[in-house]
Amino acid sequence: MMRLLATTICAALVLGSCTKDNQTSEFRVGLVTPGSIADAAWNSGAFAGLQQIRDSLGVAVSHVEARTPAEQEEALRTYAAQGYSLVFGHGFEFQGSAERVSQQFPATIFVVTSGERVARNVSPLIFRLHEASYLAGMVAGGMSRTGTIAFVGGIELPPIKLAEDAWVAGARRMNPAIVPRSTYLNTFDDVAAGREAALALLQAGADMFHHNADQAALGTFQAVKESPAAFIFGANLDQSSLAPERVLGSAVIDLPRAFLTVAREAKAGGFVPKVESFGLRSGVIRYDPNPALLATVPAPLQAAVSAARDSIIAADTGATAARPAQ
């Protein structure tokens, strides 16, 4: 058994050195997602971005799904070893592994979505989705009849917690007495959990919902749809289509646009690693109201939301703050 093993490994090493990876100088882009790209949210948005890079820039792209930290690091590393020029690690969890891998592969640019630190060739991509969630919260605060609003989160990750806090702050601005409730599902997969959480929150009196739970939130939409007086705000994508009668608006990250911006810059050469931070000002982050329900939102409230958006954009100096203040 051992001898066979040794022979196999030796043979593989020999063969391996023959079939050396074609390390061309061609510009190639890799994407590593922490979950299924069929989630209609965080990961599928990144995949859409990758495809846009392929179509707009005419470069070769590749995608890998890696669910555990070990696999994620391996995936980043393998792309770099194969000579990819730009590799996206789609989530804060890639920060540590990107930093480790980058030291060995200085020629590759690593972009960590929702990352936090800049290294020589590691660039975090920060989406200030909370700016849009804040606007959604304002609408919710102004519209809530019960005075209770609810947030359904997947796992308590920093960007998700930020979005929750901004949502609550927005609602408070319109109604200081608002009661915020929240539930974390500890999963992004379990749709039924998303629905049960929403039903419990409805019982707690909530009539305005926001989420950041990817595909598990599909259950939240379902619960809201079945409850007569409740409304929900989408996250990451424009989710109006999930429940056209009940989605007042969505806090949107235009991932394709952001990915394309970064890739174009990298392809042009002279990419300087920095914190790429996108807020409302960039147009990558948007609060998209559902046009079908726009009429139900009182005009003064709409005006207040517009004003708030303008002032957030005005306050954004374009400087690349490392992290938005918490």
Binding site: D21, E73, T78, F92, E93, G96
Partner: protein
């Protein structure tokens, strides 16, 4: 010299796994072709990802194999004694949690002392986690198949609490622990992700092989697994002791795997540390007919399949889910084609163990 029955048919022992692998690949090719992916580039990618370059071997194949081998060794031992441990997943997390806890506290220790201490912590925690089903079985007659399964869910909730609570990193934002200090990290092979855990796994495989083949206790353990009644009546041993000890050690090995993963690969605790090692480990052990050296080979096989699957996604655009089907087909072919693997399991699932 009387032969170890496990080695009696050398050629035959290898034939079935290879056959199964062949059939698994054939099913993969068929599936790819029907789904519209050109099979040849996909297979080429599979090879590249698993064994295609020194880098693939050192940074993808071998690091992936380490936890699989360690867990497989433990499960193999437990099954031999007739203890059906399907809780390696939970024991792995218990080990990872303990190793992180200890590792974070040892920043100032010399590495030569700190690393073994970290591994030992994982070992002990896995053992303790397995002590619950062992105790429940021996004292209360609760089937370990059930209790180990239940404890997996508890461990998953526990690790989730740890990374958001007591062990959360110092800024209290990310659901992960602080990175382990350098002193608590297993040394890595320069320029690769391969770490010293492999050596530990190989040594343990060798030790287990010697234990099973050359020691009275190892032989008695196998006898207990084959027939607890005969081992008790003829051999004068206490089957429940061997049963419990095997369950404990098997948990300890899974805990050690958790420690080695934290200390050698991820350097921090995460709640999604395991992609299902505990269940793949069962396949690894059974596929090798519970033979410790065979487990090294089958651990590498499954690691190769998974590393290759990554490459199939990367280079050939094959969806990630395809690899689940391939693994399933390989396992099913083996249990179908190999009466010995079938029997190994049969003895192990005998819940009565009377």
């Amino acid at each position: 010299m009387p032969q170890d029955p496990q080695l009696r048919s050398h050629g035959h022992a290898l034939r079935t796994p290879l056959l199964a692998l062949g059939i698994g690949l054939a099913v993969l090719v068929l599936g790819l072709a029907t789904a519209g992916y050109p099979p040849l580039p996909a297979l080429a990618a599979l090879w590249r990802g698993a064994l295609g370059s020194p880098d693939a071997i050192l940074s993808a194949l071998l690091p992936r194999a380490i936890p699989l081998i360690l867990i497989g060794l433990g499960i193999g031992l437990a099954f031999r004694a007739g203890a059906f441990n399907i809780g390696a997943e939970g024991q792995f997390y218990a080990g990872a949690i303990a190793a992180t806890w200890v590792g974070l506290a040892l920043g100032t220790w010399p590495r030569l002392v700190a690393v073994p201490t970290v591994l030992l912590a994982g070992f002990a925690a896995g053992l303790a986690w397995a002590a619950v089903p062992a105790l429940l079985r021996v004292r209360f007659g609760v089937l370990e198949v059930i209790s180990t399964l239940l404890l997996n869910f508890v461990a998953e909730a526990l690790v989730s609490w740890m990374v958001l609570g007591p062990l959360q990193e110092s800024k209290h934002t990310y659901p992960q622990s602080d990175p382990l200090p350098w002193a608590a990290r297993l040394p890595q092979f320069p320029g690769s992700r391969l770490h010293l855990g492999l050596l530990v796994a190989l040594c343990l495989a060798l030790a287990l092989w010697l234990f099973g083949r050359r020691t009275l206790a190892g032989f008695q353990l196998r006898a207990v697994g084959l027939s607890p009644a005969a081992a008790r009546v003829m051999g004068g041993v206490r089957p429940e002791r061997f049963f419990a000890a095997a369950l404990l050690v098997s948990g300890a090995f899974a805990g050690l795997a958790g420690a080695s993963e934290v200390s050698g690969t991820t350097f921090a605790l995460f709640q999604n540390l395991s992609p299902g090692f505990g269940f793949t480990g069962i396949a690894v052990a059974l596929l090798a007919r519970l033979h410790p050296l065979g487990i090294v080979a089958t651990g590498l096989l499954f690691a190769g399949l998974e590393a290759g699957a990554g490459a199939m996604q990367r280079d050939a655009g094959v969806p990630a889910v395809a690899v689940y089907v391939v693994e399933a087909v390989v396992i099913l072919t083996i249990v179908l084609a190999d009466p010995a693997a079938r029997r190994a399991g049969a003895a192990a699932t005998d819940p009565a163990s009377r």
